[in-house]
Symmetry: C2
Subunit: 224 residues, 2 copies
């Protein structure tokens, strides 16, 4: 976008797991950037110009040129800043594996989470969303297995892509009336391990604050 | 998967746009492989073992190791066979742009297409799917602009990712009662241009055959 400021900017919204994974990635790469918190109820001209297709955050601006979609932003950070620590593994098969699971988290965990708050409480569709959420979390836990991190022995691409959803676990639990700790103890231990990392701790928000925000979403956009 | 055959195999289903984009990519890269057509109404042990998460085609097997999800397969082909012609552009920004639009086609065109055949004919939800399909195709046409190809002046990643949907245009038209040629003449011209390419011509099926298959889908899985 002609005339935009030089440097690195992230159009973001504090509670978005998609924005958070970009923040964690930028921190892991030690890339200094200016966060541009967006008001999603009154979208800025900058956001609408930067992402005219989806009109959504996150958008990463590199010298004014927009990169949209969080997983594409993570790929871009590796490709445009090859001198910084790589997020994706170097092996082609491991890269494909990481992409598969990041996409799984977006399609299953996020999608079931949205249905949990949007659908009417106590109905069968919400109960179905709860069952699918538990199944998705169990599938992720099985993928974690005995490893310290989803990416293997060290924190990596897949961990930073998935860990933002853990700040939503409390909200999922209260909406779905289940305990993530009971169904997926190893996943909860992994979330704690990730949370000790500075890049993660600084990018996520307290689960109670996320739950409060989910209440606002439910009240404003949920089925009545 | 231990004990699997050496070489390159593609678990596929003839009419799948996701499988077709892999076939086109393999042809563009001159990579010889064995296609393994799957019976999706009776999934093979091989498919279930290769893609236990989604249980879907396409799956690419490289010396028995599975790569799942079509866009991940395209990335893998570039990364595992760097000596073959690259599918993705080399510039980081252009790569991000290609990923954004391939994802757009999957999320909008395919998703609206599924609603078009699945939903009851003549109802408001189906009419809504039709409107969204027309909007998605217009958005793709605007992205094409005056370029010869979605990827620019030469056929590339984005073209091979999107072109399989063009074999479904006839089915979309008949289900939605609209003419793609009328609403998106440049997109239709682009589809013809792509169809002249050998890799595309050999991978896609006649629109009438696709329409016949969509009729089978509608009859078997559509809302009654």
């Amino acid at each position: 976008m002609a005339g935009e400021k030089k440097g690195l900017h992230l159009l973001d919204f504090w509670v978005s797991p998609f924005g958070q994974r970009c923040r964690i990635a930028l921190a892991e790469k030690n890339l200094a950037y200016e966060p541009l918190e967006q008001d999603l109820s009154n979208k800025s001209d900058l956001l609408l110009r930067a992402n005219p297709v989806h009109k959504k955050i996150p958008v990463f601006l590199h010298d004014g040129r927009p990169i949209c979609e969080s997983l594409a932003i993570l790929h871009y950070l590796d490709e445009a800043f090859p001198e910084t620590p790589a997020l994706l593994p170097s092996d082609a098969h491991a890269r494909a594996h990481a992409r598969l699971w990041a996409d799984y988290a977006d399609r299953k965990v996020f999608e079931c989470g949205t249905r949990l708050w949007r659908l009417k409480e106590g109905g069968e569709p919400q109960a179905q969303a709860r069952r699918e959420m538990v199944e998705a979390l169990r599938t992720l836990e099985a993928e974690l297995g005995d490893k310290a991190y989803l990416a293997g022995e060290a924190f990596g691409f897949l961990d930073l892509a998935v860990v933002p959803f853990t700040a939503w676990f409390l909200a999922y639990e209260r909406l779905g009336e289940f305990s993530v700790e009971e169904v997926c103890p190893r996943l909860v231990a992994w979330a704690r391990r990730c949370g000790e990392r500075e890049s993660v701790a600084r990018s996520l928000h307290p689960p109670e604050k996320v739950y409060e925000f989910v209440g606002y979403l439910k009240n404003k956009y949920g089925d009545k």
